[in-house]
């Protein structure tokens, strides 16, 4: 329950902080931190417009996408307090319920029949496909290390004591941060600010969505970021008491948003063909974690 509340609160500010960081870095004042949320409220008050060439799938998809993110959120724990749902193998549930949402957003994009959206859909599915092994190798290694298979048990029994486990936590943070950038379609994979249909990935898939549906998709995007942020926080807080854990949750979420804002300000995005290369690198970093775990467990010389 606690994690659900915290994720909602973090999601309120997360995108606003990224936008504000980028504005300040380029010498502008920038909009208020809550502007993305006001935009979503504005969208929720509007009706949606549907193209005549689309079918019920297009109308269904935003809701499925949004609810998939909500469901994924339910299994995310916070330190010792587990999520609303917690069972053995819930990290697999987490990954595939998100994948279900993504599947619907992909077929909805194909449903519009627009060549741009088809292109976006193919890119998005390619990148998720590459990102999947990274996530599973990472979580699998942690499960192997802790001997448990649910998020809550894995995180609460992680012992960050030896130097090698510090290195592992740092690598895991990197992997999760990058996966969240891929999933959240941020730089350097995707450019959320661009107006150029040909270079978009996620944005181009939702070109035909409007009003309420668009609001749902945007909200789901904000929540996703906060979810990955919460996973990263979980790597570190383990069993420390809540009075320290909660401030550190917000501190880590804040740092993550600022880091994303700075990355987006001071580098150019990747060339599209470099993206798969980059994402596959994440898998190899996860493999490093896996070998680290084998070392710790002395199953590997």
């Amino acid at each position: 329950m606690l994690s659900l509340l915290l994720i909602f609160m973090a999601a309120l500010f997360f995108t606003g902080i990224i936008v504000r960081t980028k504005s300040l870095a380029s010498g502008r004042k920038g909009p208020g931190i809550l502007q993305p949320i006001w935009d979503v409220f504005r969208l929720f008050r509007k009706g949606a417009v549907y193209s005549e060439t689309t079918s019920f799938i297009f109308q269904l998809a935003p809701t499925v996408y949004f609810s998939s993110v909500l469901m994924a959120m339910l299994v995310v724990p916070f330190g010792r307090s587990h999520g609303i749902l917690s069972f053995n193998g819930d990290f697999i549930f987490f990954a595939y319920v998100l994948a279900l949402g993504k599947f619907f957003s992909i077929i909805a994009a194909l449903d519009t029949g627009s060549s741009f959206e088809g292109m976006g859909a193919s890119r998005e599915s390619l990148y998720s496909m590459f990102a999947e092994p990274a996530f599973f190798i990472l979580m699998g290694s942690l499960a192997l290390l802790s001997g448990h298979t649910s998020f809550q048990e894995i995180f609460s029994s992680l012992h960050i004591g030896s130097q090698i486990s510090y290195a592992m936590a740092a690598l895991a943070t990197f992997v999760l941060l990058m996966i969240s950038m891929i999933e959240g379609s941020r730089m350097p994979i995707d450019d959320p600010k661009t107006h150029l249909e040909l270079t978009m990935i996620h944005e181009v898939m939702i070109l035909d969505n409007s009003g309420f549906d668009l609001g749902l998709i945007l909200t789901a995007g904000y929540l996703k970021f906060a979810i990955y942020g919460a996973l990263i926080v979980n790597l570190f807080i383990g069993v420390i008491p809540f009075q320290y854990a909660i401030p550190s949750f917000f501190a880590i979420q804040f740092l993550m948003a600022v880091a994303i804002g700075l990355i987006e300000s001071f580098m150019a995005r990747f060339r599209m063909s470099h993206n798969p290369q980059f994402i596959v690198v994440l898998t190899s970093v996860s493999l490093l974690i896996f070998f680290g775990v084998l070392l710790i467990l002395q199953k590997f010389i």
Partner: protein, 498 residues
């Protein structure tokens, strides 16, 4: 003599242009251009006289600093072989002639309309049944972009044939901005109306096109420009170059999502256009240039202001460039993207900045200098690779060069003098002007009738040639790199569509 050689801005009687039979006209002009990188066709057009068409071909020779003019009279019923089969650089000109007069070419490979959505002389052929280039394959897909775009840009339709993310072919369809400017030039009689028209040919090349028009008019009136007039035009041309190049660098950074470059270059453009506002009351320099006039004298106070503006502009500009050229993620987007080879640039007759990045030495400022350019002894900036990176570099180099020219120019401010009165245009004259706008060579030609009235006015913006360079440059590139290629050329839709 089969052709008449004139200097830039030199008026000649129409009757002095040698008239050839079509076969000789064909051999002469294709022979002049073939395998001569220093020569290219600056304008080739027709105008109707009774039921005949007079074709006029102007070939510029950069090493001799002359323009070779020849003409030919043809009938509409004639079946003519096209220049294009020998040299691609005539392709667009012949398409335009075909579109305007319905002249039949027997072997032109691609008689696609240039500015209309239909064939003006054959109503059965229009855009709905136009055979866009296509490849019949299960594995390839077509992506159509525009004419309405997500950003605030001009309308144009781009049709890609892609193999996954890779572009195999791009076909560009323009003409959505056609306003009939050349016709309006004949219809409007007031000089003020004509100057305003010239200003509106392409919104980003106001100085370039207005200078071209002013030079044409002065040349028709056989008017000697004073040093003050030449001075203000040269300064304005260089300021326009700085402003647009800097703005383009900003836009290029936006397209690769490099926020710092985008906002810094965007900010740097502002003081330059604001200086134009201080000088003439308009940030795009509208109203600044008029034939035979100095409407806004360049005062010593403006010299001080411009010095201030340049002194604060230059260090920031250099520093931002240093940052940009050291950023690996930016370089990886620019390098080896959108390559136009030297051979391609030459064969399609590319001009201006786009040609110079592929190693073609084409710059009117050095080859056919006008205004104060002869004194500046312009050294042409040339790059060899023809990729987006070269086009970024050449923009940087040209801005730095222009700053130097401006400093040199304003150090020697000409005295304000009494300007002589502009007379009326002479009768039956032909004249041609070449101006190096920021994008490249602008060519205006005019012919006057027996009462000194304009009977034909022809405008050629550099975009006319260079759109094809863009289509060639994106082949085998990723489709997501198209926007950055497009921006690196930054061609004009309005200037092409007229």
């Amino acid at each position: 003599m089969q052709f008449l050689s004139i200097k830039n801005n030199q008026p000649v009687p129409v009757s002095s242009i040698p008239e050839l039979k079509y076969p000789e006209f064909f051999t002469l002009n294709t022979g002049l251009v073939a395998e001569k990188p220093e020569r290219h066709c600056v304008s080739y057009y027709g105008y109707p006289v009774q039921d005949q068409i007079i074709l006029i071909c102007c070939i510029a020779d950069d090493s001799e600093q002359m323009i070779h003019i020849s003409s030919c009279t043809v009938k509409l019923s004639d079946q003519l072989p096209s220049f294009t089969t020998k040299l691609f650089c005539f392709e667009k000109f012949e398409r335009e002639i075909h579109e305007n007069f319905g002249l039949k070419y027997t072997d032109h490979p691609w008689l696609k309309p240039v500015r209309y959505a239909f064939d003006r002389f054959d109503s059965t052929r229009n855009i709905s049944n136009y055979p866009f280039y296509s490849i019949d394959s299960e594995e390839l897909h077509e992506v159509g972009v525009g004419p309405i775009h997500a950003g605030v840009i001009e309308p144009g339709h781009f049709r890609f044939i892609c193999n996954g993310e890779q572009i195999l072919h791009l076909e560009i369809q323009l003409g959505y901005q056609h306003r009939g400017i050349e016709k309006l030039f004949l219809k409007k009689k007031e000089l003020s109306q004509l100057s305003t028209l010239a200003e509106n040919i392409a919104g980003d090349t106001v100085v370039g096109h207005t200078t071209a028009f002013a030079q044409i008019w002065e040349s028709l009136c056989r008017y000697e420009t004073s040093r003050e007039i030449d001075f203000s035009r040269t300064v304005a041309l260089e300021l326009e170059r700085i402003a647009i190049h800097t703005g383009d660098l900003s836009a290029l950074c936006t397209d690769i999502a490099y926020q710092l470059g985008s906002s810094v270059f965007g900010r740097l453009r502002t003081p330059i256009v604001n200086f134009m506002q201080e000088w003439c009351g308009n940030r795009l320099s509208k109203g600044l240039i008029r034939p035979g006039q100095v409407r806004f004298p360049f005062t010593p106070a403006l010299v001080d202001r411009l010095n201030q503006v340049l002194n604060s502009f230059e260090p920031d500009f250099l520093e931002m460039n240093k940052q940009l050229f050291m950023l690996p993620s930016a370089l990886s987007r620019f390098e080896r993207t959108g390559v136009v080879s030297f051979e391609d640039a030459l064969s399609i007759g590319a001009v201006g900045m786009a040609a110079r990045t592929s190693g073609v030495h084409r710059d009117i400022r050095s080859s056919h200098p006008h205004s104060l350019y002869p004194e500046l002894r312009h050294a042409v900036n040339v790059k060899r690779h023809g990729d987006v990176y070269s086009r970024v570099q050449i923009r940087k180099n040209e801005v730095i060069q222009s700053i130097g020219y401006l400093r040199k120019l304003i150090a020697d401010l000409p005295e304000a003098s009494e300007l002589s009165e502009l007379s009326v245009p002479g009768e039956n004259l032909f004249t041609l002007t070449l101006v190096e706008g920021w994008r490249g060579e602008i060519c205006h030609t005019a012919i006057t009738g027996p009462k000194g009235e304009l009977i034909h006015y022809k405008i050629k913006d550099p975009s006319f040639h260079n759109w094809l360079a863009l289509a060639l440059s994106v082949r085998n590139n990723e489709i997501s790199d198209f926007p950055v290629c497009n921006k690196s050329f930054n061609l004009s839709y309005a200037g092409h569509d007229l």
